[in-house]
Symmetry: C2
Subunit: 193 residues, 2 copies
DNA sequence: ACAGCCATGTAACTCGTTACATGATTAC
DNA sequence: GTAATCATGTAACGAGTTACATGGCTGT
């Protein structure tokens, strides 16, 4: 087994490449800023890494020469921004082109509970589903803001084209999820109206 | 902080409750069988835990008295099945009713790459999306089989009612995901036909 | 003055994975 | 007889979390 060259363990964890990817949009970012970007976009499709992990990954990326720290002494305060290097771009490209993509993983806290709904009461299940609808509305709002912030540079060939395709996908995703939840609610209503 | 009683760390990891939940459908299962069930249904909405983890969780659940091992000596071979206890049912119910549900987590290997698509070539992105459509078709097939296997006991009040609601949700989910992928493909085609 | 944000890091810990190890039973 | 499946576990490790610790800057 393991003859497929794409089976070899990649040098870096995926989250490392995700953060590296966030540095390909032209600006140098501090760990703190990277966290904000991740919370803005990455959290919908990947994770919102803890601050501590961001610094860990930045250390790792630096060791590999994929990013370069740019330290600024602003008075008594030192901040370090990171810039992607040529080696970093190459590595990222290689990762996109050669790593095994695999199937997306869903940890659906709501569906997991619904699956064993018979272990509780229909009322509880309905409450969970209704809460979920409300949270989905929040996610939709947040993502819509992100999507709107991309306008102006979201055409084909423009810097935010791919992010805008992804954001629209995300909007469709949450809209679909809302429908699926409503549908489940309707079916539970059939049981006990 | 942490005044909300639901913020207290739950006694068990979620996967433990997930496996416990699989034992509420009436039968005693071995670790091996539990793995098969998990691969069948749980994998779509939660995870497909490794064998080794299943045994770990079963040990944990046994320690807590939430499951009872039933050892069978079948000739030279010993197998251990597990049965949920009354304490286990109570704990599961408490978990469903009181634990914080949170928002589902998506680790979308495809969208992550698409987000930074500008770091590679449109052709690569298209290939990734097309592969994904194919894999979705496979998932749909598998899930449809599962769903069909529930027929006969999937009405309101029947044992497999909740699982069937969840399975139908999953089918809708993958169908929607297929549409979203196609939509993204169409938008990439606008760039370079 | 004080809260809230900006900014960086370390330590302990847990979940979950892969690799390794072993052996019985069943189907061909 | 031998391959696949059934069955159970241990060990090493890695990714990612929470908790802890520190301190500068900004707005009111």
């Amino acid at each position: 087994m393991s003859q497929d060259p794409r089976d070899r363990t990649p040098e870096l964890p995926v989250t490392s490449y995700a953060l590296l990817g966030l540095l390909t949009f032209g600006d140098e970012l501090t760990g703190y800023e990277l966290k904000q970007r991740a919370d803005n976009t990455l959290r919908f499709y990947w994770v919102a890494p803890a601050m501590s992990q961001i610094y860990t990954e930045l250390g790792r990326l630096t060791e590999h020469g994929y990013v370069e720290p740019v330290t600024t002494q602003g008075g008594a305060r030192r901040t370090t921004s990171y810039r992607i290097t040529a080696a970093g771009s190459t590595a990222l490209r290689a990762w996109i082109d050669e790593s095994r993509v695999g199937f997306p993983t869903l940890k659906h806290t709501v569906l997991l509970r619904l699956l064993i709904g018979h272990a509780s009461e229909p009322d509880r299940m309905r409450a969970i589903l209704e809460d979920y609808v409300a949270e989905l509305a929040g996610a939709l709002r947040d993502l819509r803001d992100v999507r709107d912030s991309l306008r102006g540079a979201d055409g084909p060939g423009e810097p935010f084209h791919y992010p805008s395709v992804v954001a629209d996908w995300g909007l469709d995703y949450f809209a679909a999820e809302t429908r699926h939840t409503r549908r489940a609610l309707a079916r539970l209503a059939d049981v006990a109206p």
